[in-house]
Amino acid sequence: MKKKRKHRKLKNEFLLNTIITITFLFVFVMVVILAFNAKLFSDEIYFKNRLVSDTLVTQLDEHSESQLMALDYYGEFLNEDGFNPQNNLDQERLRFLLQKDEMFMSGQILDAEARVIYSSSEDQGDIGFDLSMQPYISVLKEEGDYYYSNTFYSKTHNRVMASLSYKTRDYYVVVYLDLSHFKDHINFLPIKDQLEYILLDHNGTIVSSSKEDLVEARMKFSFYKVTEGSRDDFKKVIIDDTRYLLSESYSDLMNWTVIILSDYNMVLKPIYLMVLLSIGFSVVMIALILVFQNKRVNYIVKKIQELNDNLGRIQKGVYDIVFIDTPFVEFNDMARHFIKSTDQIQMREEEIRMLNSNLESIVDSRTAELSDKNIELEALLKELQDTQDLLIESEKSASFSRLIAGIAHEINTPIGVGVTMSSYLTEASKKLDKANKDKTLTKSQFNKYIEDTLEVSSILLENLIKAGELITSFKTASNNNFTYDLIDFNFYALAANLVKSLKTQIKNKDISIRLAMDNKMLMTSYPSAYSQVLTNLISNAINHGFGEDQSGTIIISGHMDASHLYLSVKDDGRGIPNEIKGDIFEPFFSTNRSGGGMGLGLSIIQNLVVNKLKGSILIDSQEGSYTEFKMTFPLDFHKTK
């Protein structure tokens, strides 16, 4: 089905298009700006963070340099001629040196075999320990080599530590760094609140961090998945479900890496702000543009309306229209074409007027001719109607005559017999009366009279009864003697009961009756009338549909739609000859008059179907093959009124 096109106002369409265009434009511009700004913000944050991490590395390097300077100083002291680790004075000086800088938790001096010869610990329990298998000793090959070790948990200090080992000419110096307080040494660095820092040792273990639990658990930074990053040093990482932007710098002196993490929300925050501002700005812009556009659109719509009004005036035959000059070339061109068109219309109208005046005279003469012909035709039509009425009346009369002739023919026989018997009885009675008066009446004569009278009375009564029955049939045919109730009923139930009762009629015949319809066929009508129609049709099929000893089937089928019942009664019997098909609904038409048929059955059915039930009935038959009565009835009789 074609959808009805919805009509819209031109002004609304103009304004809607403006809004859509502006919205799309702003969305596009916003996307471009945001993409650009996201990169700009990311870059800015990265460079700031990189600056922080570089600064941290500088500070770390300075810190490391001061540690190494201290170790150099120890080295010089240890290399001094006459240094003896067993000497109490030298031990005091070492202790002083280790405590002076407060950079180290504790320290040990190892001999060339990596045995502890001096320890800053109070109990000196580690004196003599062999540390030659420690990786932080085995890597030191040359004088001046130093090494920041892996982190480890110190049982002595109950904290995570790392060592810094250093090789002098004859000794090793090992100092221990307290990593849990390492940030005290770098707290002067410009770490902002929203930034986190992480220091990684040479094997990626976290040695210091603003997130202290990471140090305690000696976490490897590789545990955190770097999720994104086009550059090696600019990545995103997720720690504890928070996404960070990462920048890193490397300290050559310590072999440590400085990582600065900034919450990615820092990047998103200004972007969100910018989105909000952009949306606000867009809304204001759209409002302003709409206000401005509204004025322009109103003007255009007004001009179009003006054109429309002028068209209306032209339709009414007013041609003196005036167009006011507008700033728009298109409108002015249109107005000029309008005025030209108006002039052309006026010229054509004049031409038409002239043609019309000629036409009028022609039309008048033709009209007069037509009027004469018309009168003739009317007279002919009247004649035709009269003839038609006559024919109808004749036909009615003929029908009536046929009806009367039928009735007369039927009644004539019993009445004729009645008259004859009455005449005979009268004559016999007169003879008996005369014989009685003449006193010549014999007993045998009287007995014969009585005998004849009884016989004649019996014949008379029989014929009068037959005449009475005939009259009853005529009344049935005119359906005046039925009383029907208009009720809701199930046609199927009615038909089924009927078929059941009629099966007794076919008990001695090889005929079957079949019902083919839905078992729920509700309707509102006169069930008694339907019963009669069906009874007559089925009886008709049983009695006339089949030849002597012919077997067959009578099928009663029906279906319904929203408003009608379609019913068929069909037999596969001998069919009806073509020459009598047109007569079978006629009253008194019978092919079995000799068998007692009066020829009223189908006439009664047609009368009930058409007049009582407001339906229709058709017959379809093929001789030697079948006969079918097709009927259509309204489902709700109320709706037929």
């Binding site: 809607l16 859509i20 990596a114 109990d123 329990g125 580690d126 004196i127 003599g128 320990f129 062999d130 540390l131 030659s132 298998m133 420690q134 990786p135 892996n150 480890f152 948990y153 049982k155 109950n158 040479h202 094997n203 990626g204 639990d213 305690e216 658990a217 000696r218 490897k220 590789s222 545990f223």
Partner: protein, 362 residues
Amino acid sequence: MKKIGIFLMAIVLILSGCSSNKPIKVAYVAGITGDLSELGIYGRNAFLMRVDEINAQGGIDGRLIEPLVYDDLNDPEKIKAIYKEIEEEEIDFVVGHILSSLAESVLKEASSEDVLILTATMSTRIIDNVDDYLIRTCISNSQQGKKMGQLIKDDGHRAAILVTDQRNKTYSDEFGVTFESFYDGQVMTIPYLPDDESMEKILQAVESGEYGALIMVTPALDTALISQRIRLINNSLDFYGVSWSMSPDLIANGGKHVEGLKIVYQEADDQFKEARDKFYADYLETYKEESNFVGQITYEISDILFKAMKASKKIEPDQVKKELINHSFHGLSGLITINEYGDRPGVYTTYIVEEGQFIQID
């Protein structure tokens, strides 16, 4: 308006994306901070390494493994709270738990099919022959005590000092009981805590000269420390250690003083040496430091868990358990068979420290 609708629909479709397979959560629980945390850290690193490898191969049936690490501080009191978190996180599989002293608390959590726990180190006999949801890939502690008893006897020692770490009392005491039942010599048991008093008692016993063997049921750092201290006063005493101390930390911190120390440890099949070497090389490559035995066996147990998950019809504790019990797996130390109680039958063997290396001598 129709155009706007299509445009919005397109945006919604682009933004909606596709849903992916839900990851499988697997927890690693061990003491990873504080005292005795060294082993937990090796285990954690090895566990995460295996998870990374599995995920790099596409996970299990297309589902990635989501590792979650919990720190039990080696404290039995913490276990209940951690398992509450594990339940809230809807984690069905747990790997870890280092010390046998946690066993009783862990066993309570392993009684239901809500979670399947796999431990590579809790060798306590408490776990032996218990049909529950705790699977163990280390050999029972009773076997270790038995082996040590035989070893000391075979080495001809008639008297030995037994240092038992009280921080892992269940393990140490059990070891002591089985050791003494297989060793008929004189035993001087010294309960150990990392303090001067314990060290003093050990030194006194050594100085008495009555004992030829020192058995240290202590972790690597303490074994190294005790060895260093003893060697300064006694060069003839034979040192013995348990699997708990089999770690590069023992050698790094013990130096030459732990040379000749014998350790009783689970046997390693030479046929699996290539797999072991590969693990140690990969660990070194990943973490720039050497792994110890806990790293090895945690990697091994993680691998066994993931193999069972792959074989299982459904990745649920009871189904995966079915794929573990009465099954054998190629591990790093050999063919590992899990019996119907979720235990690993097997025997211990002897290693010796020579030139900074652990050498299997049986």
